[in-house]
Subunit: 250 residues, 2 copies
């Protein structure tokens, strides 16, 4: 039995998210089916994390085990890309240590969120249009506040099954990419469900002058989801990167 990491990107528009669900098509399901068909063995894939319905991934990593004969990794990548719809692209398949785990071995995840301040016919599937000019200075000041805390219960979906709501945010900032486009980047060891979208929604409140540093501290310290801002829409969110220790790969 050998274990492999598969690196892929996907346009989440037409999917219920990464995770298999009874009510629609998931990336995990489609990928498992493709691998099982091509490798002629029932394959199960485990992702680095979930992405919600409509959320995209520029880089998702998943692992799977395979007991059959050795395959050529490049051929398998090519076959998968022919087999899968144009919404999913496989970039690499590589053997890892038997105990490497796509979710538990990951040391960091990075997400990006895209904002536009003008109608854009080419970005409407990948960015969120706001009708005000966001104040990026106050938003970046609040990003520094976020990094002081570890318990993000106030930005988590209620009733999830995780044991702790602690996350270490190592990077969080907004950058203006053009006259009309702003990008938020956030990196942490782990994220709670819905956390990035709730943080973006809350920072946007600040960006339009409705929340200051004291208000943000009050929200975080309340440890109560209902006090934070609304979640920003999922279609503008990208899982951008997942990292692993260097000795993960064989």
């Amino acid at each position: 039995m050998k274990r492999f990491f598969i690196t892929l990107s996907y346009n989440g528009k037409n999917y219920v998210g990464w995770q298999m669900q009874p009510n629609g098509v998931s990336i995990q399901q489609v990928l498992q089916d493709a691998l099982s068909t091509i490798l002629r063995e029932q394959i199960e894939v485990v992702g680095a994390g979930r992405t919600d319905a409509g959320v995209h991934a520029r880089k998702m990593v998943a692992h799977f085990d395979f007991s059959g004969e050795r395959f050529d990794e490049k051929d398998l990548v090519r076959n998968l890309n022919s087999f899968l719809s144009r919404d999913i692209a496989v970039h690499e398949i590589r053997e890892v240590k038997p105990d490497a785990h796509a979710r538990f071995s990951a040391t960091s995840r990075t997400y990006k969120y895209y904002l536009t301040t003008e109608k854009d016919p080419f970005l409407h599937d990948f960015s969120y249009q706001v009708f005000f000019q966001p104040d990026i200075n106050i938003m970046n000041a609040l990003c520094e506040v976020l990094k002081e805390y570890e318990d993000f219960t106030s930005f988590s979906k209620l009733h999830t099954d995780v044991k702790t709501n602690n996350c270490r945010i190592s990077e969080a900032y907004w950058k203006q990419e053009s006259n009309t486009c702003f990008v938020f980047t956030i990196t942490a060891d782990r994220f709670l469900r819905n956390m990035v979208r709730a943080i973006v929604g809350t920072l946007l409140e600040a960006g339009r002058g409705k929340l200051d540093e004291r208000g943000l501290r009050r929200i975080i310290e309340a440890k109560n989801r209902s006090v934070a801002g609304d979640s920003a829409p999922g279609h503008a969110l990208f899982l951008h990167d997942v990292t692993y220790p260097n000795d993960t790969w064989l």
Copy 2:
């Protein structure tokens, strides 16, 4: 009666092209209907040129005449953007001299064509995937050859109603934008129907080693569309810019 230039961009995926057609929805039609509804007067718009079915525009210019009372240009832009689908964005409306003409006054048009060499879930609606590594040096050498000629009959759709097939190409080059993305830029005073896509298809023949400089000269000098390469697909083509003399605007 006053004349206005309207600047817009559009995602051509769901349209039969710029020009009104009996067999589907055109950008021109949708724009005319929106302007007529909002301005409460039958408006006709004349574009800087046609774009074929599926072709996009990052900047299209059109003119229209209006006899009613003065409107606020910014309000009209905002109203149009609310009214029009997310595939079309209006950027500016500005009064011009009464004899300025979106098509005949234009001094140059620039098109861009996007090529990818890897499956990309985010660019599939906006780029053409090829399964070889294009040789950009030979393609750029042939671009210099193109600029020596004026009669592009070999790259024009047959039986069009234009009086001359002469165009002056002022700029034509390929640029590698990333490991997997190549962009072709071409500027001319005018373009024949289908010309850019036929040129791209022909240059791609060169980029995969199937056409050299002598071959290209033979194609151009034949003045016969059937000797050039196939047209490259329209969904990767963008009308990128249209320019006018400085004294066009009032």
